[in-house]
Symmetry: C2
DNA sequence: CAGCACGCATGAATCGTTTCATTATTCGCA
DNA sequence: TGCGAATAATGAAACGATTCATGCGTGCTG
């Protein structure tokens, strides 16, 4: 495998000069530079990133660890982060913890071994201890879709999930529903809990008792779990008239279950999702949903990370950005 | 930052021994091993992957470069690949070329610099020259959803797109349609061309002329482009009765456009998509689609790559695996 | 004309591991 | 008792880049 030494030899210069041609071309005389560059091209020389990083210290990798790659919401976050990072010359490596704490720890260790420039993470571990491996290596991270823990608070970008839940529930209550089924996921997830809290708040505002919230808990936050939850909520009596799901995948699953059972949406049951993924608008019945600014979150998170690791990282201040969600009303919640 | 040297010093052993504790624990005495391990834990020592890779030569990274992360089909491919790779102790880094040749080249160069173990790629560049940077570094790659070029043929996993197109068109012809609109994407993409060829074959089988295929070309293969194409095909005269889209995202977009125009599906226009993504079944009208074994493709591709780079890579033989697609009939193509 | 600054190139030291030939120690067995 | 084998640990040489103090020659300035 041809290295910098071979290039130097064939170009008749020292390795230091070749390195300069690559990294600080302006410090090398025109004539030398082109000669070296042509040798590089001729030999198909490709610099070894591991050697570079070992000596220079800094990696060009930024990691993004999401809860569920199957969820278009996270795909949108990833694309926002990727765009911002690439403008700064970084590559984003996107990984999927699939909501498993052990997967998450595996990945974070790997990131630490790679000495990545920084990590954007939507933690699966509610305790936040899995991030210790990053803290130990002084690898900065930004929490995405989750505000910091108690003790130390680094940067984070999130959306006000309580407000989102409230928006959804207010909308349903305003349409005359006196009880709301909340199809949540694993209760360890703060997003799931916060959205539920928003529902409770909205019910209280309307003078309804806490019992007006009926919990149906899905195993995971995906379409299959939603179908399952949908079947279960049809068994409730009295049959609910309003259903709010912790995300759109669940809502689409619920919708399929209701469809299969011949239950009309929105006539018999009004349905609201969360995230406003692209497919929500294209659903069997266009889905009312709480929109999160996913791409912006990804972009912001990446920018904050780069500020923290960039040239003037000294003057970096941790920020906890909280964005506001927005209700998008479509057919699934509109009584005809 | 604590390195192997510091661990060795505090444990009272040589660096070689520490390395052995990490990489070949069975070769070091029980007592020494636990002592070293406890020092590692106490100091939060994390090995430097770049140093490891520089010396040992082999990376633990496998790259996956897809055409469009926004397409659930590729997400499924990624999850199949990831699962297989992780069982072999590799991490997959998923990147998105977004069908841009220059993005693709950037990423492939980066992979080459990182000396990744191998690359799974759905090439955006139809010439295949962008893969030269990998060939130059002897980095093996597996083509996903695309058979090899002309000169050299490495491994590939693909689905018979001609057969898929034929399945879709046969289905429409059997339902009595005498002409079919094909909503394709960028004609450089072999997938787009092959599916079209399948349509032509099915029309020929049925004794229909080639003019029975009407082309509508979308800019990209996503929902927005589909909406656009949908609006355009409504301007055709006579108005078509059957539409086949190069993928489900386009089909969902077309569906939205038809919906917006008040055109009934399947009554006025029958619609067939491709990929059978999860959201096809949940669409406004459940979408008939050609199913591809996406997860299996990802898994197979990763396995083939690992065979090529694994312990007995010497006996590796390149294979071009072609899988068969399957038609899933749903409401969007069933005349009531 | 001495002195200085500047532009360019050099080459050795360094990053943190792995690997391997070598040494030291113990053990079993004739 | 002596010897070969097996077992543990050592320490130095890579791996392939970056970086930096150094040297050399040129042109400018006072």
């Amino acid at each position: 495998m041809v290295g910098i030494k071979e290039v130097a030899r064939q170009a008749g210069v020292s390795v230091g000069t070749v390195s300069n041609v690559i990294n600080r071309p302006e410090t090398v005389a025109e004539e030398t530079r082109t000669r070296v560059q042509s040798v590089i091209a001729r030999l198909h020389y490709v610099r070894s990133e591991s050697a570079r990083q070992l000596r220079a210290g800094a990696s060009r990798l930024m990691a993004l660890l999401v809860l569920d790659m199957g969820n278009p919401f996270f795909v949108a976050v990833a694309s926002g982060a990727e765009r911002a990072a690439r403008q700064a010359g970084l590559v984003v490596m996107v990984c999927n913890s699939a909501q498993s704490v052990s997967e998450e720890m595996d990945y974070l260790s790997l990131f630490a071994e790679h000495r990545v420039r920084g990590v954007l993470v939507t933690p699966a571990d509610p305790t936040g201890r899995s991030l210790d491996v990053l803290r130990g290596q002084n690898i900065p991270f930004v929490l995405v879709d989750r505000v910091g823990g108690l003790d130390d608070t680094g940067c984070s970008v999130s959306v006000d999930d309580v407000a989102g839940g409230r928006l959804a529930a207010r909308h349903l209550v305003a349409a005359g529903h006196r009880a709301v089924v909340y199809v949540g996921g694993p209760p360890e997830l703060p997003q799931v809990r916060d959205r539920r809290a928003g529902v409770l708040a909205a019910l209280a505002e309307a003078g309804l008792p806490a019992e007006a919230l009926i919990d149906v808990t899905a195993e995971r936050l995906d379409v299959a779990a939603g179908r399952d939850a949908g079947a279960r909520l049809l068994g409730l009596s009295p049959r609910p008239t309003a259903v709010f799901c912790a995300n759109d995948l669940l809502a689409l699953g619920v919708l399929q279950a209701l469809f299969a059972a011949g239950v009309g949406v929105p006539d018999e049951i009004a349905l609201v999702g969360y995230d406003d993924i692209e497919f929500a608008a294209a659903a069997a019945v266009p889905l009312t949903s709480v929109r999160q600014p996913a791409v912006a979150m990804g972009r912001l998170a990446a920018e904050m990370l780069m500020d923290e690791t960039g040239p003037d990282a000294g003057r970096h201040e941790h920020r906890q950005v909280v964005l506001q969600p927005e209700l998008v009303v479509r057919g699934s919640s509109l009584r005809r």
